[in-house]
């Protein structure tokens, strides 16, 4: 098995940068790389550079908890994320790269009547949109997740759950490499360790980027930046409804018994799944105050461990092996912001907060179509930056599961 996975690791081609491209993408994370990949594969546009401040997938793409699901609460989001889930399911076949994609099912536990109402609403909305999510009682939860403590350590009794059957996980850096390799083998340039310091302007139009190693001209610039998006947008005098909050995560030592499902809690805002290595991967809510600090905080780890072990008591005997934090671009309505910015030549994909990994294929596919055709695809039209001005915010905080 392992040797097959190594054989399916495809090489990434590295090129000498040119001084001009049709498209320059700022940010070599999942969304930047998948946009480049779909530009090359769907639209034949390969004169493209992805400019990354660090190494590819060094930001939130390599720091998330790798969950792929479409059990959102509003139709626009369900449609978008379910398309992304389907693209993920076909990604290994399409790219030939192993991303360790595995369908597990997502059990979202509620502990109060309020939480049950949220999950009931989610199930009904999902089913109306043709997405396979069902309502569970406590006995069903115990059957699917035998390790669960239905009393919630005496504090957070399990009243029920929603079960999103097609939810999956995939290895996050493999996903980034699959898109990077697919793009670079078709001629896309990946430029690592190159901070973008400004934008080139011709009148009101953005015509390229200024970098620490000189300017790069571009027909179109896309910001696919995560935590530092407000700073990049400010270069184009664009002001965003986005705040940067750290989100922490950790893995434990191996759990031999195995946990088949992805388990999450509505009120406790924590979630756990098992990695392909057997480690338990745990995340919870983001820090209340915005910051750009990636230091793992003991308070966050203590809080996450307390909450998740109330649901799954076996975790009390496990050790935290590794901790990290990512910088989430949390939008004001907890939905992504994709498309035109009002500045010619400058597009944006941001507001990916704590929900961006699952959206990598669909977000990239839609942004590539917008760049190639000049028309915003219907799938992402509700998520434009101008929605806030028109009082059409896409409020879906409960579906983020991180607050």
């Amino acid at each position: 098995m392992v040797s097959e996975h190594i054989a399916s690791l495809q090489p990434i081609a590295w090129h000498e940068p040119r001084d001009s491209y049709d498209v320059v993408i700022i940010g070599g994370g999942g969304h930047g790389l998948s946009t480049a990949y779909y530009l090359a594969t769907r639209h034949g546009i390969t004169n493209v550079a992805v400019v990354e401040v660090d190494y590819i997938a060094s930001g939130n793409t390599g720091r998330n908890t790798t969950i792929i699901r479409s059990n959102y609460a509003i139709p626009e989001a369900i449609r978008f994320y379910d398309h992304s889930r389907q693209l993920y399911a076909g990604l290994e076949a399409e790219t030939g790269a192993a991303i360790f994609h595995r369908v597990k099912g997502h059990v979202w536990i509620a502990h109060t009547e309020m939480g049950m109402r949220t999950e009931r609403g989610r199930v009904l909305m999902n089913q109306a949109m043709g997405v396979d999510t069902e309502l569970l009682g406590p006995a069903d939860v115990k059957r699917l997740v035998p390790q669960v403590d239905l009393t919630g350590a005496g504090r957070y009794a399990v009243l029920g759950a929603s079960h999103h059957v097609p939810a999956a996980t995939a290895r996050h850096d493999r996903v980034a490499w699959a898109f990077a390799s697919g793009a670079s083998s078709r001629g896309v340039h990946l430029i690592q360790h190159r901070p973008v310091t400004g934008l080139l302007r011709d009148g009101d139009r953005v015509v390229g980027v200024e970098t620490a190693a000189g300017p790069i001209r571009a027909g179109m610039v896309l910001s696919a930046v995560g935590g530092w998006v407000s700073q990049v947008a400010a270069m184009a005098r664009i002001r965003l409804p986005v705040r940067t909050h750290p989100l922490h995560a950790f893995v434990t030592n191996d759990f031999e018994q195995g946990l088949d499902k992805i388990v999450a809690s509505t009120e406790l805002a924590c979630y756990v799944s098992q990695t392909e290595r057997g480690q338990m991967l745990i995340g919870a809510e983001f820090d209340s105050q915005p910051s750009f600090s990636r230091l793992s905080s003991f308070d966050a780890l203590r809080s996450y461990a307390y909450k998740i072990s109330a649901l799954l008591p076996f975790l009390r005997s496990m050790r935290i092996l590794r901790t990290w934090a990512g910088l989430c671009d949390i939008s004001a309505d907890f939905s992504p912001i994709m498309g035109e910015t009002g500045v010619d030549g400058f597009l944006i994909t941001t507001g990916w907060g704590t929900w961006g990994f699952k959206a990598i294929p669909a977000g990239g596919e839609a942004m590539a179509e917008l760049i190639a055709t000049g028309r915003t695809p219907g799938l992402i039209a509700p998520f434009g930056l101008d929605r806030f001005r028109h009082d059409l915010a896409m409020a879906d905080q409960a579906s983020a599961g991180t607050r």
Binding site: W228, S230, Q231, R243, T244, S293, L295, R389
Partner: protein
């Protein structure tokens, strides 16, 4: 950041406080009234550096504090 030094209550753990958001006027160069409305309702300055913000001591004296904080290090500079 683990604690805030409340001027009335002294050093208390962060989870006694509720984050109230940054204090931020719309910038002068925004002159269009609709632009200013959008800015004041929705936009965050989100600076990587010093920010002025409000915190509510919800589990303490229940007063509002004004905190100057460096978001790069997530460290308090001054509390009033």
């Amino acid at each position: 950041m683990h604690e805030l030094d409340c001027p009335r209550c002294g050093r208390r753990p962060l989870d006694e406080f509720t984050f109230g958001g940054e204090r931020r006027p719309a910038p002068d160069w925004l002159t269009d009234p609709d632009d200013r409305d959008f800015d004041e309702v929705w936009v965050f300055e989100n600076p990587a550096g010093i920010t002025n913000e409000r915190w509510f001591h919800s589990a303490g004296c229940r007063r509002w504090l004004t905190v100057r904080r460096d978001t790069n290090a997530d460290r308090v500079v001054e509390i009033a």
